[in-house]
Amino acid sequence: MGCNSSVAYRRSEKAIRAAILIQNWYRFTKARLETRRRYSLSIFQSIEYADEQDQLQLANFFTFMLDHCTHPDSVSHILTSPGVSQVVDEGLSLTEFENRIDVPDSYYGPRLSFPLTVEDANALLHAFRNEQLLHARYVLQLLCETRRVLKEMPNITHLSTSYSKEITVCGDLHGNLDDLLLIFYKNGLPSEQNPYVFNGDFVDRGKNSMEILIILFAFLLIYPNDLHLNRGNHEDYIMNLRYGFTKEVSKKYKDHGKLILCLLRDVFSWLPLATIIDSKVLILHGGISDTTDLDFLNALERSKLKSLMRPPKSVRDRQDQLKERIPTTRLSKHIANQNVAGKTQHISSSGSTESSGSNLPPDPALKEWKQILDILWSDPRSQNGCTPNKSRGGGCYFGPDVTAKLFERYNLKMLIRSHEFKPEGYEISHDGKVITIFSASNYYEEGSNRGAYIKLNPELIPRFVQYQVSKYTRRQNLQERVGTIESSALKSLREKIYAHRSELTSAFAQYDLNSTGRISVSDWAAAMESVLQLELPWRMLRAQLVQMTPNGEADYMSCFYDLKIGQPTKEVQPALVETLCRYRRDLEIIFNIIDKDHSGERIRIRSSSSQILQKEQRTIFKCEGFPPLPFELTSSCRNRSLATCTIRSTWMMPPMLFTSMSERNVRTRIASTKSCLYSGWGTWFSTDSTCTANLISHGVIWQV
């Protein structure tokens, strides 16, 4: 109505100042959100790397134990059995699997027929979208065929972008089937016109590692010239024991899981190590080192190295010639303290501790192992030089100078690698020469990161495509997403804090000489850092982890309050619970190895004698097939129908409960008296007089 436009647009000074204030405040909240997001990811990553380091320490321990303390024959028995080895070594043909394994009529999943066709691949995709399982027979046939095909391939695959084909390169998938399906949806299925390179780490962590392998191997068989796979550091059976793939297979395939895992071990070792496109673009999983020798890598026998977690036998033997022998009886405690608790050992440097003046010639097996370890485990950094990779415990950090030298030596233009989580799914470093591609979205938590893949055109210019799988139909806003990631990260951190409760308590006490229960924030942060060995912004996290007193000090015991652990019983000492919590994952691995038939859950224990238990008689139960006894099981009898079984351990044990089987194999349940860490089961008393007891996991903690 009015034409007084100046009124409409005149803003008072007050309003302008108000606007500045609001803008300022808003930018503050955004920065705060970004900081929370960053430190949450930092927490996830530090804990993950610390776990991986522990894993390598454990591998060293294992290696020592298996080499020195076990009967040579039983070593292989732990990890396999005669029947299985035969299958793997002799290479059963497809028809033999058909004859041996029956597929019932009730099975409605895909029925594969070899040679595979696109129809089979589509059937598989359809089935997995509907959460069906592929029958074990087809899995085994697929693996057999895959191994046969992979054996023909060289260590380094050479590709060319011909015509106007774009090559798609994908990074870590880690069992995230949704991501693979999303990639195929966006980018099309693999075919002659649509070639793919998958750069390792297909398995572990996510819950569909098996399905991802099946799909990738199926396409490999259908389009062997257009679907290429590189081995990642997780294509390694010892890694799989810890990071979930072994468990996934055992659960999904109760009867044939062991055979499948054994065959997979072989298949993984036959995966090519790297791919080179147009002789210019090098694609491998981890990175490079200053000693990386592509010709050497191309020539070695890659299938000899089933796992990179143990140095080759000849190297181990030599190491032991240089080390002191440790008496077997004191073995477990000594090694446990030395290796499991220690953190600073570096896996490949242990192979080179030959400095105590040995005159032995350089071991070729050692060079092979190190070369592969480097390309599967290394990470790029912006500082020049090549230094041991401290966070991983294997491989190295390589700088732009190392990249430049390799490129010059082999006339390369680009290095594409994966192996490291990136919030945007990809990252470019070393001045555009190195690309990291990571294809598992929401890796740590819903909303934590995007995944991405690379489209490489015939001019070798990369184009990135990002995506993120979401279980919410409405996309969470940034605030919500950060909230989710943050609580998840803090939960993991609190678990770690609990697992180190007694160490932390004594570290705090050192600063609190008058036992007031309070220490300065500075001291609290120092104690946290030194005990947990995680480089985190403790002062920033303080408010979420510990309560403050009115005068600004930290009430340090309050960092243990929040954690919900079930009621401990008087027989179970808190220190034990904490120790078990801390070493839970390590113990799971050991248990998985002991658990020979991968049934999930049983170890057979036979009595050394089969006498009927008399009153007060003590019988020692021995654990079959696993000589270095971590525990002994004794029994005494109160009356003829009642026997007490107690396990005394000289080392840490996984939580277990057991029942006893009568001679007639009727499982008789026994009473419980002690509660345990994870469930309400207690000590089991045998009401039977036979001497066979089955220990079943996930139940009782035994008093030590």
Partner: protein
């Protein structure tokens, strides 16, 4: 003038280093220059964009490289914290600011009004910033921002 014990300064420096390292991806004591604002704010300061530019001038290299070194950043930031520069905006002051934009004192600001103010006046929002604020602040049914509710929600999230 306050005198600070050595311990207090050391503690402040540790705080700054922690905040810096959150953004130091490669652990080599440098951060991208575009992250300085986030770092300063994560330490509890509320600098305006103009103040940030001033601060940057003090910590940048003579030949700007796009990276800021911890070495240069630490003393400057320590002084900022000791001087208590860039004071936080208390909740009531923030409320008054919104009220100043609410001419009719009806408890809300229309989307159009808010967008006009925040993208044209003061230190204007980018399109992205405006959309982001609206995604949380705007009540889609009335197309207005009920600022009291918005402030309460944001403050709660903070604690």
């Amino acid at each position: 003038m306050f005198l600070f014990a050595d311990g207090a300064v050391a503690e402040i420096e540790k705080k700054i280093i922690e905040a810096f390292e959150v953004f130091d991806h490669e652990c080599n004591k440098t951060v991208d220059v575009r992250e300085i604002g986030s770092i300063v704010r994560s330490l509890g300061c509320f600098p305006t964009e103009a103040e940030l530019h001033e601060l940057l001038a003090k910590v940048e290299e003579e030949e700007p490289t796009g990276y800021i070194n911890l070495e240069k950043f630490l003393p400057v930031m320590t002084k900022v914290l000791l001087d208590r520069s860039y004071q936080p905006i208390p909740e009531d002051v923030l409320l008054h600011a919104f009220e100043a934009l609410d001419e009719n004192k009806c408890g809300y600001i229309t989307k159009e009004e808010l967008v006009k103010y925040l993208t044209e006046e003061g230190e204007p929002f980018t399109q992205e910033e405006m959309e982001d604020m609206l995604s949380t602040a705007l009540d889609p049914e009335t197309n207005t921002v009920r600022y009291r509710d918005y402030i309460s929600m944001m403050i709660v999230d903070e604690t």
